[in-house]
Symmetry: C2
Subunit: 384 residues, 2 copies
């Protein structure tokens, strides 16, 4: 049995999405999920996915209802992602939902995880529960684009953070770049670092800025991994990055002795030579990330690596902070092969523009990549 969605459904699903957003920094490699249980316009219980090993959103919401002495039988349960139907680190959520006997379950998007993939919904339907799908699909996908991408494409969702002047300059000709954008934009950038699974940079940035690449400007109980692309494996072993926290160095050159010394500093060295000598296989690196359960990659690199990632088709989204300033003759944002025709340029679609302090944050994404994910999370309306 399927019932259509309505404006009430959108209202409550937004509340479930807000639950999911509240755990943006903590659930990786699991998806961020929110759940709200409602009867007659009243919330009986709600919750969000806990850190790995902890309960998922549905269980949290059911426990919350229990703690409030509410019975869920006959109520409507809103959940931002199809409930899981398999044993992972925790038992299947769909069993707990079935036991609670809601009359209706509303789901935003399907879970393309081959262990779920519609089976959760099929079991609900078999038990006579009314199921509505496809409420707030875009928003639900945006929260978990990384998880969905890993499950459906075998690739993480990759965004590239850049900061530049209005005329697209990221540094003066003398290399001076700190700070083109203001403190609010920097803090906002750290929010994006915090939600990612890994912060990726290039060797040029390590040499120029010696960055820590950790999350500082926003509070988070979890630090993303840090990674450097260093084709020739020339990275100084004294880099500030090697502070004892886990780091990955991708390189095209074997050096067992250096790798062993770095391993003592909690650095994993991954040798991934690409077709060009001395260059890392960037697509292979992204596949490696997905296999290692990294959902979202936050790139924060110079014009060289940024351009190489764009040219290799590895970037799904641009996160661009524009300062209201003109710099004129200065360093560009991305180094790309010269184009002879505008048709050959890499095209994106704007999805957001927001003022952040004095600066503007623009987001644009590769429409094809997004459409692929949208197709993979679409749940056909279920016939009764």
């Amino acid at each position: 049995m399927t019932t259509p969605s309505n404006s009430d459904d959108i209202f409550w699903m937004r509340r479930a999405l807000a639950q999911a957003e509240s755990v943006l920094y903590t659930t990786a490699p699991n998806p961020r999920v929110g759940c709200v249980i409602v009867r007659d316009g009243r919330v009986l219980g709600e919750g969000a996915t806990q850190p790995p090993g902890g309960p998922h959103a549905e269980i949290r919401a059911l426990l919350d209802a229990q703690a409030r002495n509410e019975t869920v039988e006959g109520a409507t349960l809103y959940v931002t992602l199809e409930p899981c139907s398999h044993f992972g680190r925790t038992p299947p959520c769909v069993d707990a939902v079935l036991a609670a006997k809601p009359a209706r379950v509303v789901v935003a998007i399907g879970d393309p995880n081959p262990l779920v993939n519609g089976q959760g919904l099929a079991r609900l339907r078999a038990a006579g529960i009314a199921v509505t799908t496809g409420v707030c699909v875009e928003q639900a996908l945006a929260i978990n684009a990384g998880f969905i991408s890993r499950m459906s494409r075998g690739l993480p969702w990759v965004w590239m953070k850049m900061a530049a002047s209005l005329d697209g300059r990221s540094a003066l000709h003398n290399g001076m770049s700190q700070w083109i954008t203001g403190p609010e934009a920097r803090a906002d950038g750290h929010h994006w670092r915090a939600r990612s699974c890994v912060v990726l940079t290039g060797m040029g940035t390590v040499l120029k800025d010696d960055p820590l690449l950790n999350v500082r400007e926003v509070e988070t109980p979890r630090q993303p991994r840090r990674a450097v692309v260093d084709g020739l494996f020339g990275i100084p072993e004294s880099a500030r990055l090697f502070d004892g926290g886990p780091v990955i160095v991708f390189t095209a050159r074997e050096d067992a002795a250096k790798a062993a010394r770095l391993a003592a500093k909690n650095v994993q060295v991954v040798v991934l030579p690409g077709p060009t000598p001395g260059r890392v296989d960037l697509v292979g690196m992204m596949q490696w990330f997905a296999q290692a359960q990294f959902n979202e990659v936050h790139v924060e690199a110079g014009a060289g690596l940024s351009g190489a990632l764009v040219a290799a088709g590895c970037v799904d989204e641009l996160l661009l902070y524009l300062a209201p300033v003109l710099l004129g003759d200065a360093a560009g944002m991305v180094r790309l092969p010269m184009l002879e025709h505008l048709d050959a340029a890499r095209r994106y679609a704007f999805i957001d523009s927001a003022q952040v302090g004095a600066d503007l944050r623009l987001r644009a994404r590769v429409e094809g990549a997004w459409r692929t994910l949208m197709q993979r999370v679409a749940l056909p309306p279920i016939a009764s």
Copy 2:
């Protein structure tokens, strides 16, 4: 007597501003003014400034009320700019307002024209009419920034239209630039041409694109003047620009014979040498525009002239169309002297960002210039 503004005042002033916006293309060199006459929440009459020589907004609104058989006595009159108190091409509006005996007049901004400058309001007050000032000041100034700038600074309000990729490139290395942005952005650009008094470009653009510089993509009964900066007076006499419509060429080099030949084509040649040999005095050119009653200058030029105007402090506002595309190694937007420090960069403040087709239109302005105008239109609350 002064009464405070309230939310009703804002509502009706917005309607008067909409009247003013409806004549954006036609009133130059006069300001665009809107007027609405209201009693008990009902419009008695409304109108906007007609083309030069025609009636001003207040007269139009009074005539409209007359045509509807409404009496204005005791009503409230909203007007976006202080009513004029001098004889120009038409008699003073303040006389007509006084004769209609409204109980109250609400004015957005003062008119810094030395022939008005508070005298209009003083005469209303002397007649016992309640006057409220300062409603929707920013919006009212934005509609007439050019007129206000000319009256108060002896300079036009200058915006610079640019189109670029996300990484600030305005053309490929081979010069290909048509079209980085889409048709909607181009049409929007023509709207800005249409409202301006003059469309200004440089010799580089004439040689590269041989543009017409007229308004084509939006309907307008008036074409703005067209002007070219051509320091060495090398402009080809066969340029498409010289189509019989009026054109101004600013140059640093005298050539009476060429000037005479161009005059026959309706081209005015203005010799304005600057301190650098072969270069036009750009600040002098802007003063010339103001003296010739040009309110708003729309710059649409290449990186050379654009950079020179920015460096000379001639640009008040940036009108930037960003295409969601990365071009990498390609031509920049503005050529500016190299900077050694970010503090030396030209700073603007974002005032608007809007999606236009697939592109984004950003507007940013020089805060100091705007503040100067704000100060000149501020009307002190009038004590009773």
